[in-house]
Each structure stands twice: as C-alpha cells, then as structure tokens.
Amino acid sequence: MTQQHKVRLSVNGRAYEREVEPRTTLVDFLRHELGLTGTHVGCEHGVCGACTIIKDGKAVRSCLMLAVQADGAELQTVEGLHGDNGLHPIQEAFIEKHGLQCGFCTPGFLMTTVELLGDHPDPSDEDIREALGGNLCRCTGYQSIMESVRLAGAKLRAGAAVQAD
C-alpha cells in the first residue's frame, strides 16, 4: 500500500486533518475526503477552471495540486461564500444577471471573481476578460457573466461604502 501522509489545512475557516495518499489531488481531497462537492471537476488538466478555489488568498486550480501540497494552507471554496446573512453579493449578482445556465462551471467563476474583485474592486471590462480568461463556460457565451461580474463589483463597492459610513 502507498504510504499515507498527514494533511492539515483549513477550508472556509474550519480546520481539517486527514491521512491521504500522496497522489490524491486537492480537488479529490476536497470533494471525496471532506465532502465539499461544490468544487467541480471539468477537465483535470488545468484548462477549464471549474475547480478553481482560493488558496492563501490566490485563485488556484485544485485539480493541478496535490492535497499534500496544500498542507498548512487556508482554503476558500464556494461553500464558504454563502454565510449566515444569505448569499454572497457575487452569488446574488450571478442570479440577477443570469450569469449561469447549467451552473457546473459557476463555482469556479465565482471563486475567480472573488479574487478579481479583491484585487480590482472596480474592474474594467479588460480586467474582467483577463481574470476570467482561464474559466470555460459552455452555456452562456460569457455576456451575462461579464454583466454579473460588473454588478457584483457594484454591489461590493456599495456594501463597502455603507460599512464605511
């Protein structure tokens, strides 16, 4: 049997510790070991972006990492967006602007948008294209996603302004 390795990390603020085979990918670890199935697998070779999560503040492809490489990391997944106060403004924006159809790629788009709007609270269309260029959506043709991200930015800025007041 392959040797097991201990992995300790936090996901959405909650600590986990598991023994895994070194070859276990991070996305399989999240989905099958931790039961966090909101992160999806579309290609397993880093092109489609469906598996995008936030690791230590940066959007990464969880299909291209091994779970053991995430030892000690702080992760955020789509399950962490929906808080006690309901949907995250980015989620609300995607619903309002019909930024999804089948919804399979959506968690990846949402997490990429989390990073984008963290770095650029008021992104230009060019910024949005640049950030989302690595996420494939086969349903929407991206126009409604573009609108969703613009609206999400506006919602977050409005929320920040209210908090500042």
Binding site: T37, Q101, F104
Partner: protein, 810 residues
C-alpha cells in the same frame, strides 16, 4: 377529454401576468451558485465501487487475447469486465439505420481509438485505474478505414464485415423539377465545402452510478441523463432486461448540448455491478475519455453544392451532395443529423426545387452523436456561403441577395420543397432590424475605408431558420420510426392550495423548471417560489423525452397548460356548487374562482381546492376528490412521411439574421470579430432572459465551430485531440459580446405562441462568421470553404492568393 391549449399569452387566466413573458430569476440558481446541486459525481451510495475503463489504443484491431488475472488479483478490485461478458449477456446497441451497432464494450475487435475494451470496478477510482493498467490485451492490427472519401472503394477494410460495405446509407431525394430549374437558370453557382468534426463538450462529462439487483433482476441507474425514458429503452435492449425493470434516475447535468447520456458507460457500470454481486458502481468519464470517445462528436462532412439563380438574383434550385462520416458506428444517433436538414432545407428562401444526395459512411473515427443544432449548422454554412458566392457573381449586395429571396409574411404557413411547414415569420423585418442596428450602410463605408488602407475587413450577413419542437418523423429518412414525441407533466394542488408539478427530466441549464413555475404561478395566482417542481424518475414519470431538438420549453408548456385546464374545469364544478352559480358562469381568473359578471362572487383557488379535498359532502355526485392530473402534450398536426421524406415535422420555425464585422490579420491569418448584431424571432418569449442566454450561448459554440474547434485525426484515424489544450473551446476572449433585438411573430400552432429557441444561434453564427471572413478575403480572390477558419488555414489561403496574383499576366 380534449383540450385546446392557448396559442397566445392572452389565454392565461390572469388580468396581470406577473411571470410568464417576464425576465424572471431562475428557481434553479440558488442551488447552483452555492454548489449544492446534486451533480452525479456528488452521489455516494453505501458500499459503492468505482469504475475505470481500459480503451483501445488502435483504430482497428482484432482482440487476440485479454489477460485480466493480474488486475483481478490487485487489492481492492471487485470485478473485471471484458467482451466475453458482453457476448454472454448482451445485445449490440440499437441503431438507425439498423445493423451498425457494436456491443457497449468491444467484442472480438475494436473499431476506434478510445473504444472500451475492458473495465474494472474497485474500491476507489485510483485503484481501479491502477488495475486497468494490469490488464494485458494482445491486438492484431487491421487495415484502417481513415478517409471517408475512399471508405466505399472495393478492397477497403470493413468495419462490419457482416454488412459487406462501409456504406450506412445511400439515398437521393429530389423535390420539385430540379433538372428543369437548373437547365433554365441564368447562372449556376457551385462549390465544395468541408465541415470538420466538432462536438458538444459540456463542462461536466458523463457520469453514472448503476446498481444491478441480482434478486429481482432489476437495474437502477443514477446519472447525467438527458433523456431518461429513451435511455431505459436502449439499456433494456442491450442488457436484455424489461424496460420497466430499469429505473433511470436523472441528476442535474452540467450542460448537455446533445449527447449527454453515456449508453456505453451505463452498460459497463451496470454489468460491473452485476459481476460484483450487486454493489453500486460509479463511472465518471474523464475529459480525455470524453474527447476520445464520449457523446457529442458531430458533423464530419464533405459537401458539393450548387444554386440555380436567375439574373435578378432569384434562387430557383438548391442541390446538395453530402458525404457524411459517421465514424465507427451509428450507436449515438448521429445519423439523425443527416436527416434533420429536411426540416429547413431551403432556409429562409422561396426556392422551388431542391435535391439532397446523401452518402453516410462508416470509418475508424469515433462514433458520431448529437450536438446542438443536430445537422443544420453545416448545411446552413453551405447554403449561406453559396448565397454570398451568387451575390458576388451577380454584383449584388449580400443583404439584398437575401432580401430578394425571402419567403414573404403573407405566404405562411409555408411548405418547403423538402416537406416541412414553417408556421410563421417575417424574415425581411428581421433583416431590416439587424441592418438598422448595425448601421449597415456606414459599416460598408467603414469597410471601404479599411480596404483602401489595405486592411482585410469583412461583413457577414446570414439568415437562417431554427426548426423547433422536433418530431421523430423528421428522422424517418435514416430509419427512425414514429410520429409524435409525448411530453408529460403531473400537476397537483394540495389541500392548502400549494402547487406541485412532476416532470420526467432534470436540469441541464435551459431553465425549464423556472418556466414550469412561471406558468403555474400565473395560472393559479400563486407566487413562483411557492411552486414546487419535482423530478420524477422513470419508475414514476409521465411519458417524457426531455430536452432536445428545441422542443422542451414548448412541449412542457403544452403539458402544464393541459393539466391546468383539466384541474380548472374540476375547480369550476366545485366552485359552481359553493357559489351557487351555473358551471358555465364560473371562471378562474387571478387565482379566484369567480362568477362572471357578479362582482364579489368569488373564492380563492385554495379554498375551492380545500373543499374538493376535504368536503366530499359538498361535491357534485360522482366527482373524484382529487386536484391532481397528468397531461401529455405532443405537437398537433404532424404527418407521416411520404416516400421522399416529406412531412410536417418540426412544429415551429424561428428565424434569425446575424450581421458580423470581422478583421483578418493578413500576416497571421487570425480573425478578430469586431462587431456582432442579431435580430432573432422565436415567437413569444416565455422568459426573455433565458432566450437571450440561449442565443448568446449558441453564438459562443458557433464561434468555436467557425474559428477554433476541431476533432483532428491523422491519416491513420488516430485522434490528435485529447485535451482542452488541443480541442479549443472558446473563452471570454474569443466570444463577441453581441447586440441583440427581439422580434415576435407568435407561432399560430404552439402553446402561447412560443417557438423552439434552444439552438438558433449555432445555426447562424458559423455561416455568418465565415461569410464575413470571405467578404474580407474577397479582394484577394481567396475563400474559406472549410471549417474551422483557423489562422493557419486563412494565412495559407492569403499566401496562395498573393502568390497566384504575382503570376497573373497583365
């Protein structure tokens, strides 16, 4: 009881529609944006095993020997499946035309790279894949059929020796006096075209969890199934079970676009479960498997086509010779893509005669499956390209060329030469609208200035029909039987007045659950969020097909309205008693059962249902205490096909006109889409936001087909595409943001006047983009005749044209 389904929004029992026809938010979305939707790979059953499949590395090879002993001995392995099991237990897959189906896992020989040869069920996917590598297969290579153009030559190797040929279908259809119109034509324009294989590629691949009940001889399949009932019929045949002993449980799907369903994967997981003592077996196709062998590869075609044209630009005849490469079998019903163009063969135009000469062949490429559009996108690329060639030949503007040939509004319903009837439309209005949006005159001026600067700027104008609401009769020409595609809905109202509807299909992205909630909320005067939409598996579902053929939105509207009407009739009887009024005077309006012309004489729907279900003492004699009913809709007026395939098939004909501005970089051959305008008429829009999403999504897939996507095979039928690094799905950087206008010519025949709208833009976009590129290249005398118009192809054409022009004697 016969019902008349209203063909207009005015037929809904409300004075103020709140949901139908409005841009409402989708009820599906909360689960999807929170990652809570239960896609198939989320499903875990107790004691579940995981399947991995060993696939053929050869396009055509005899299987001499399979040794599974090392795999069987591997720790964690519960079962290994080979062709010997299939031979013992199964039938080959059903096909149309008949006799071109292999077993779900290779028996005796393999016919394409990626064909399943053996499979393993083990305690994890990782271990299953380890074990797969321990299966030793000895192959004897066979001569390969790689080129469909010579696949029927004498001496070619055969895919199915028992058929004695690789020719699946050879038919010629002639509609009208085709020889006469070509003989009488002032000009004939002809050209050859090549459409390379593209495919669906939903972001979620296929997956299933199958469990064979060894005691009851029953099978349960959870999975990403687009068409559950149809899947049960197919599995019943291959697995030799009664169809009613198979329960197909469809899960929400991460996109479909045609080939979602995985018949082979289902059979393999089911048989592994049978071998593993009935433990559930999960199979999740990976992307490489999808790209090699999954459902969705479509349209591998060679065309030779011609238009007969009068000097004034009137097109009188359209001839099409098609050589279609179906690949290694007809298991995926890809042949239907050859038949569907009959539903709109002559596009938006009054063309009096047409001819379709079809040869469908089998080669050692992967089998074809359905893909969004199901055949017309390449056909429209050919027709629209010829319209442009003709316009150039006659010195006409390409928009004007189309205008002169449109079917006129007063001619509807209009029967085309290939037999289908278009319900309604105003094609010239769509053209006018899109030209106005594009400011077409100025666009042409812009182009002239650009050309003067030596830039390659082009404008494409394309008009197409989207046949909507498919019917089996449309596919009679390839051997599919039947007329009518029933779709059911079971609507029930409980004692509190809460409304629930059960349907036989699961989510795939088109928003039909939202549509169901919109309809029921407006019909019974409740809130959309209060309507419960429930998926019913094949054990429980009414007759159904599911999404496909731009049909489900219309069909489920018909089914739900039929059920609403039946329940309403009952409620009127109850209310007549309660309100002490004649039945004829009682109506449902805005959620109230009320007496016509008597203000205040009314009761809320919930109260009437409450009485129906809890006050048998008040009910009219013989009335059943039940506010639930199932209604099944199928398109009215469909006809059996004649000997030439002519019939009323698709119920609705939506139309669209696209105008696109492109610039081609002469140094690299790369095409950039600068502007994109769409006027689309799909009748009544039941949720305009959903319709816009369907259109834009179709644009993206159309751009992919026109510029990027191709399943590349080498000269030995070895696939060269196995990842998204090679198969180029368009990203946000390639898909244009489009300006869209809605025209509304309601269907006189369809529920609420809505037309099928799920496939429109992929019918039009490839043609529009290629026409624009060819407009850009026209000054060079170069022309793209093959998809995709990749930078390399376009650059080569430019270079060849420039080289040729250097050698033209002055």
């Amino acid at each position: 009881m016969s019902t008349r389904i209203p063909t207009s929004l005015d037929g809904l029992p409300t004075t103020a529609r709140r949901f139908v026809g409005k841009e409402v938010r989708r009820i599906e979305d909360r689960a999807l944006v929170t990652g809570r939707a239960e896609f198939i790979d989320n499903l875990v059953l107790p004691d579940m095993l995981h399947c991995a499949i060993q696939r053929s590395p050869h396009p055509h090879a005899r299987i001499v020997r399979i040794d599974t002993s090392r795999a069987e001995a591997h720790p964690g392995v519960a079962a290994v499946l080979t062709g010997a099991d299939l031979e013992r237990w199964c039938n080959p897959m059903v096909t149309a035309p008949a006799g071109w189906g292999p077993y779900s896992l290779a028996v005796g020989k393999t016919r394409f790279v990626g064909e399943p040869v053996a499979a393993v069920a083990a305690s994890s996917r990782y271990i299953a894949e380890d074990a797969c590598e321990l299966i030793d297969v000895e192959y004897e290579l066979l001569p390969v059929v790689a080129d469909p153009c010579v696949a029927t030559d004498p001496g070619s190797a055969l895919l199915y020796e028992e058929n004695g040929t690789n020719l699946m279908l050879d038919r010629a259809f002639t509609w009208g006096d085709i020889d006469g119109v070509f003989a009488a034509a002032d000009k004939v324009f002809s050209a050859k075209f090549r459409w390379n294989r593209v495919g669906a590629n939903p972001t979620e691949t296929f997956g299933c969890v199958c469990q064979w009940d060894l005691v009851q001889e029953r099978l349960t399949c959870h999975g990403a199934y687009q068409t559950p009932g149809f899947m049960a019929l197919g599995r019943a045949h291959t697995l030799k079970l009664a169809a009613n002993q198979i329960n197909i449980i469809s899960h929400p799907q991460g996109g479909g676009f045609g080939g979602k369903g995985g018949p082979r994967g289902t059979d393999i997981a089911a048989l592994l479960s049978r071998k593993a003592g009935g433990r559930p077996v999960k199979y999740i196709e990976d992307r490489m498997e999808y790209l090699l062998a999954g459902g969705g590869q479509s349209w591998d075609r060679y065309y030779d086509a011609a238009l007969a044209v009068r000097a004034d630009g009137t097109v009188t005849g359209f001839r099409v010779k098609l050589l279609d490469d179906q690949g290694a079998s007809a298991e995926g019903y890809g042949t239907i893509s050859v038949a569907k163009p009959l539903a709109a063969f002559t596009g938006c135009y009054r063309i009096e005669a047409a001819q379709y000469d079809v040869k469908v062949v089998s080669t050692n490429r992967a089998p074809s499956y359905p893909y969004r559009g199901y055949g017309p996108p390449p056909h429209n690329f050919v027709l629209e390209s010829l319209m442009d060639i003709a316009a150039r030949g006659l010195g006409l503007d390409t928009a004007e060329m189309r205008r002169r040939n449109y079917i006129r509004p007063e001619q509807f319903p209009y029967t085309i030469p290939s037999g289908n009837e278009y319900d309604s439309g105003n094609y010239e209005a769509a053209l006018d609208k899109v030209l106005e949006m594009a400011d077409y005159g100025r666009l042409r001026e812009e182009q002239a200035r650009a050309r003067a600067e030596g830039r390659l700027v082009g404008i494409g104008v394309a008009s197409t029909i989207e046949p909507g609401v498919f019917d089996w009769n449309a596919y009679a020409t390839v051997g599919v039987p039947g007329v009518g595609v029933p779709e059911g809905a079971s609507v029930g109202i409980n004692i509190l007045g809460e409304v629930t509807v059960r349907v036989g299909f699961n989510l795939q992205g088109q928003g039909q659950y939202t549509l169901a909630a919109q309809l029921l909320a407006d019909y019974f005067g409740v809130e959309m969020d209060a309507v419960r939409v429930v998926y019913a598996d094949t054990d429980n579902a009414p007759p159904h097909f599911g999404p496909g053929g731009s049909r489900l939105g219309v069909a489920i509207t018909g089914a739900i309205l039929g059920a609403c009407q039946a329940i309403t009739e009952k409620l009127r009887h109850v209310a007549a008693v309660l309100l002490q009024a004649p039945f004829e005077q009682v109506e449902l309006m805005d959620g109230m059962l009320r007496v016509k012309g008597v203000p205040g004489a009314q009761m809320p729907m919930a109260q009437v249902v409450g009485a129906l279900l809890s006050r048998s003492d008040l009910l009219p004699p013989g009335m059943e205490a039940n506010a639930s009913t199932t209604s099944v809709w199928t398109a009215p007026g469909r006809t059996a096909p004649d000997a030439d395939g002519r019939c009323k098939s698709y119920l609705t004909a939506a139309n669209a006109c696209h105008v696109v501005l492109v610039e081609v970089d002469p140094e690299t051959g790369k095409t950039e889409i600068l502007k994109y305008f769409i006027a689309d008429d799909c009748g009544t829009r039941l949720n305009p936001a959903t319709v816009e999403g369907m259109i834009q999504g179709g644009v993206a897939q159309g751009v992919g087909a026109a510029l990027l996507e191709q399943y590349v095979y080498n000269e030995n039928a070895q696939p060269l595409v196995s990842t998204f690094m090679d198969y180029l799905v368009p990203s946000i950087n390639e898909v244009p943001m489009t300006e869209k206008a809605a025209l509304v010519t309601p269907s006189p025949f369809a529920p609420l006047g809505a037309k099928g709208c799920g496939e429109g833009a992929i019918h039009t976009t490839p043609a529009a983009v290629i026409c624009a590129i060819n407009d850009a290249l026209a000054p060079l005398g170069a022309m793209v005749r093959e998809t995709p118009a990749s930078p390399h192809q376009v650059w080569s054409l430019i270079r060849a044209a420039r080289t040729a022009s250097l050698h033209v004697p002055k």
